[in-house]
Symmetry: C2
Subunit: 215 residues, 2 copies
């Protein structure tokens, strides 16, 4: 019980700090503002995290996540699912949004690097498997495609965020895959790939209900 | 002559400040560091710019540029040219890079906004003209495509920049268009569109040699 509460407190702190990173940037996010926002004492904060740097690292540690991902008939579907799951989660989870924010902040990037190489590697591995199974068009370069999509995904998120609440990230990201996949995936496979904007939410809810059921 | 020198000095200041924005972010870029970097006095700096805010605005004012763009048989080629020209220029011009940097910085964005809506509008107008001329596939939405490509372009730049000198932005951006255009442009037009990575440089050099020749 006590441990559960400790985990919850840690998550509360991390989410509050992530929101500060998102609102004011890495440099201007202070422990003083975090104290004010959480209502916790400095002592309580420092019990969970040694420093602001430590919180930034924790944010980035949570950035490469496969939650909601499950095995699919086509490996290329799993690759798309990664992007659709994140498109659903990023607008709802300040910690994931902060990981992007820290990656585009010059100072934070210099201190902690980014998780983009990890994301690019995850995508490359899935696309390479897809290629080995004959799911991709000939002459497709898994490494280059994965790297490009990590970039494009990130930019679509950054731009649609600034354009306000008008745009739904899941729809924008689904459109991105719809445009690009015909140049990557063989036609027979493409016809059986689900690229709908609702897919991320659906996968995540299925995951949650199984978790609740203890499966 | 004196005016020429004033313009050169103003450009020198703006480039130095843009480099500072790129290296340390908006907040940490100071007039003191600018004095040190340029060797100019505060008086000389303030003759050209009223404040750091003023410099940030000047950076963003230069961000939406059509330099090097020229009329083409196909409007969709002009739309692609915008992206290829920028892909060549951004790694070489700190002011353009700083405009992207300021757009992803929470504080600077709050103060000055971004130029993404302007870029999206320029693209939408060109794509709408292309559509009216029958260059696009049926059911293409110029507004959504333009917005998505502004985002994707930005993200590919941000990610390939962090991955170091290994990747050439012109090649990454050309690949992005090569992947997406078959889903946007009618096949007969697509076959006549130049999507080569070298196109941005070529257009810009042609532009410069005409300018030198006084055309």
């Amino acid at each position: 019980m006590r441990q559960d509460r400790a985990i919850r407190t840690r998550n509360t702190i991390l989410e509050a700090m992530a929101s500060l990173f998102n609102e004011v940037g890495y440099d201007a996010a202070t422990i003083a503002a975090l104290v004010e926002r959480t209502g916790l004492t400095r002592g309580a904060l420092y019990f969970h995290f040694a420093s602001k740097e430590d919180m930034a690292r924790a944010v980035l540690d949570e950035a490469v996540t496969r939650d909601g991902l499950r095995p699919q008939t086509f490996k290329v579907q799993e690759w798309v699912d990664l992007g659709l799951l994140l498109a659903y989660r990023v607008p709802r989870e300040p910690v994931l949004r902060a990981a992007i924010r820290l990656s585009v902040d010059p100072k934070a990037r210099r201190l902690f690097g980014t998780r983009w190489p990890d994301w690019a590697a995850v995508g490359r591995d899935l696309l390479t498997e897809a290629q080995d199974r004959g799911e991709l068009l000939p002459h497709t370069d898994p490494d280059a495609i994965s790297r490009m999509v990590v970039g494009a995904w990130t930019g679509v998120q950054l731009v649609s965020e600034t354009l306000g609440d008008t745009f739904d990230l899941s729809e924008e990201i689904a459109r991105m895959y719809q445009l690009m996949l015909p140049s990557v995936v063989s036609p027979a496979v493409l016809a059986r790939i689900d690229l709908s904007p609702e897919r991320g939410e659906r996968l995540l809810r299925a995951d949650e209900s199984e978790a609740t059921a203890g499966v």
